[in-house]
């Protein structure tokens, strides 16, 4: 019998703790495939955030560290500066990267750290119970915006990718989505490109923002959540290669 599909080795053979319909599992697989395809498992170090993906090291079979909330880009800096031959990536959610860690990602980008950042944007804090994130959409109902987010009350959704584009230290910024097979395939290409850039020694930070479903705290079915990404999120977070095309 011919094998047409198999689990990529760097993705561990175990069930995840993620909710049904969550995007983290897909994003993990894309990273694991990239690492295996590039043959860099033996020189890659991953950084897990605080948030739903805090246990990413249980699913990705590379050397990994779990760090304080938002500080992954600083940790990555310490690693890459002392180990320029290693491939360093951080995996961060929107609470981690855009809220408490806004300073760290801004300055790592500003310094042009040679690291790869995978930024999972699902417009909500998942692990702590569905509170508002900086990326929460206007009118979106969360545990801490029970009547929906308002511009007057909580401000507009924060467009981190667009912010980072303005920094000379970033070399590649792309926003993708996990909302369809085509988009997942495109996300894979973007993630792979970001790793390849680091592998080539390119001088600067690369970031792939991934619009990812959270059916649980969007109060939607997994299928509806995928639709909501395209109908709502991409309006505020337009997809595309914002800086440094591949």
């Amino acid at each position: 019998m011919k094998t047409v599909f198999e689990r990529t080795p760097t993705l561990k053979d175990c069930p995840t703790h993620y909710c049904p319909g969550c995007g983290h599992g897909i994003a993990h697989r894309l990273i694991a495939e990239t690492i295996d395809e590039l043959g860099i498992r033996g020189r890659t170090i991953g950084i897990a955030p605080v948030g739903c993906a805090v246990l990413a090291y249980d699913y990705l079979d590379v050397d990994m560290i779990e760090v304080a909330h938002g500080r992954a880009p600083a940790v990555a800096t310490g690693m890459k500066r002392t180990n320029p031959d290693k491939i360093i990536f951080s995996y961060q959610g929107d609470g981690d990267l855009a809220s408490i860690g806004a300073g760290e990602i801004l300055h790592a980008g500003h310094r042009g750290e040679q690291i790869t950042v995978i930024f999972i944007n699902n417009a909500v804090f998942g692990m702590t119970g569905g509170q508002m994130a900086p990326t929460t959409m206007l009118e979106q109902v969360t545990a801490t915006t029970p009547k929906g987010r308002t511009a007057a009350g909580e401000g507009y959704p924060l467009q981190v990718a667009e912010l980072l584009v303005t920094l000379p230290g970033t070399i590649y910024v792309e926003r993708c989505a996990l909302s369809s097979v085509a988009q997942v395939r495109n996300t894979k290409k973007a993630i792979k490109h970001a790793f390849e850039l680091q592998l080539s020694g390119a001088q600067g930070l690369s970031l792939v923002e991934v619009l990812s479903p959270c059916p649980t705290y969007w109060r939607l079915s997994p299928a509806k959540a995928m639709e909501w990404i395209e109908s709502h999120m991409t309006k505020v977070f337009p997809l595309g290669q914002l800086k440094g095309g591949r």
Binding site: G42, Y57, V67, V75, T82, H107
Partner: protein, 366 residues
């Protein structure tokens, strides 16, 4: 790149250096691979020195965007097995506490230098010993300890940097060197000389890329039932070992003393002068100087308290180490405190007068 234990500046020659620069050079000698830090007075000479010297030695210097970032850069570099450090002063150390707690939880070695200034809040930039509690009680959240050195001379400051890196690696934990504005700024002749080093285990836990081996994970998160308790018990056992093996303490003329003055750091130098003066005046005085503030010299002080004598504790604070002295004395002898907080520095005469009064009073029949 110079080898660990070497520095292009080391040797037998006496050189005049300020504390901040001496500790930086000693760190280079100790094999510090990377320094990360954010400016704050009165320790800016450290980062300026490292900015010049680390690239010369083929090592890493980086000015971070904040103390939060600095300690997390240390966290990252340490996790890959590198020897690394940061330095700051009181308000900056407060910001680093999160990272120090994570270092303790993840069992990562690192050296953190605190050149203390007056507080609370922004305080002032004058010398102070107001961060003793913060340093010796862990400082951040959770159930942990840091080894803390409280050197009192530029030479000792440099020497304890060498030891700090070794102990951090040996026990896999953050080690803090607690200096103050005087020690950081003052110059003294020192000899930057290699000292005997500890045998250190290989860092098999380090994140180096999982080439040909199972994945390594560095983490401080343990959600499974009882797992964190187990880790905490491991740490507790390690802390007990440290308490048993790593206490450093200097004591003079304690045996026949009617008064024993306890002080650390710069305050201990002032105490030393005051005690000498008291002895010239015929007073039977001795002094104890903890060099490690944690582990604290509990046994030494407890033993000294077996004879009835007065203990005087002198600090540049409102009284912090005095609590450890009281615990060690455990009610066996009276403990009197004298402190100058907020950047005040006690004078030799102040302490001498106090010693005189206390010893007079103890002779007055009630």
């Amino acid at each position: 790149m110079t080898e660990r234990g070497q520095s292009s500046r080391g040797g037998d020659k006496r050189v005049l250096m300020c504390g901040n620069e001496a500790l930086a050079e000693a760190a280079i000698m100790a094999g510090c691979d990377a320094y990360f830090g954010y400016p704050i007075t009165p320790q800016n000479e450290i980062s300026a020195y490292m900015a010049r010297r680390m690239p010369d030695e083929g090592r890493v210097f980086l000015q971070s965007e904040s103390e939060l970032a600095a300690i997390n850069m240390v966290f990252g570099a340490s996790a890959t097995g590198q020897r690394t450090m940061t330095s700051s002063s009181s308000p900056g150390i407060s910001l680093m506490q999160e990272g120090i707690s994570y270092l303790a939880g993840a069992e990562l070695p690192a050296v953190v230098v605190n050149v203390m200034r007056g507080g609370p809040g922004l305080g002032n930039i004058a010398p102070s010993q107001g961060d003793y509690f913060q340093a010796t009680r862990g400082g951040g959240h959770g159930d942990y300890r840091t080894i803390v050195f409280g050197p009192s001379s530029v030479q000792e400051l440099a020497d304890c940097m060498l030891l700090a890196f070794d102990l951090a690696d040996l026990y896999r934990m953050p080690v803090m060197v607690l200096a103050d504005g005087i020690l950081g700024q003052m110059m003294e002749p020192i000899v930057l000389k290699e000292k005997p080093r500890r045998d250190l285990p290989a860092k098999e836990w380090a994140l180096t890329g999982a080439e040909g081996r199972p994945q390594n994970i560095v983490r401080s998160l343990w959600l499974g039932e009882g797992v964190l308790e187990e880790l905490n018990c491991t740490l507790r056992d390690r802390y007990e070992q440290i308490q048993k093996n790593e206490v450093i303490c200097e004591q003079h003329d304690v045996d026949d003393a009617e008064i024993v003055v306890v002080a650390y750091g710069v305050a201990a130098r002032i105490v030393c002068a005051a005690v000498q003066k008291a002895k010239q005046d015929g007073i039977k005085a001795g002094w104890i100087r903890p060099v490690t503030l944690w582990p604290f010299p509990i046994e030494q002080i407890s033993k000294a308290a077996d004879e009835l004598r007065i203990f005087l504790v002198v600090e540049m604070s409102n009284g912090q180490m005095v609590e450890d002295v009281r615990l060690a004395v455990s009610g066996k002898a009276p403990v009197v405190f004298y402190g100058r907080p907020g950047g005040g520095v006690p004078t030799v005469d102040e302490i001498f007068e106090l010693i005189k009064q206390l010893t007079l009073r103890s002779k007055t029949p009630i």
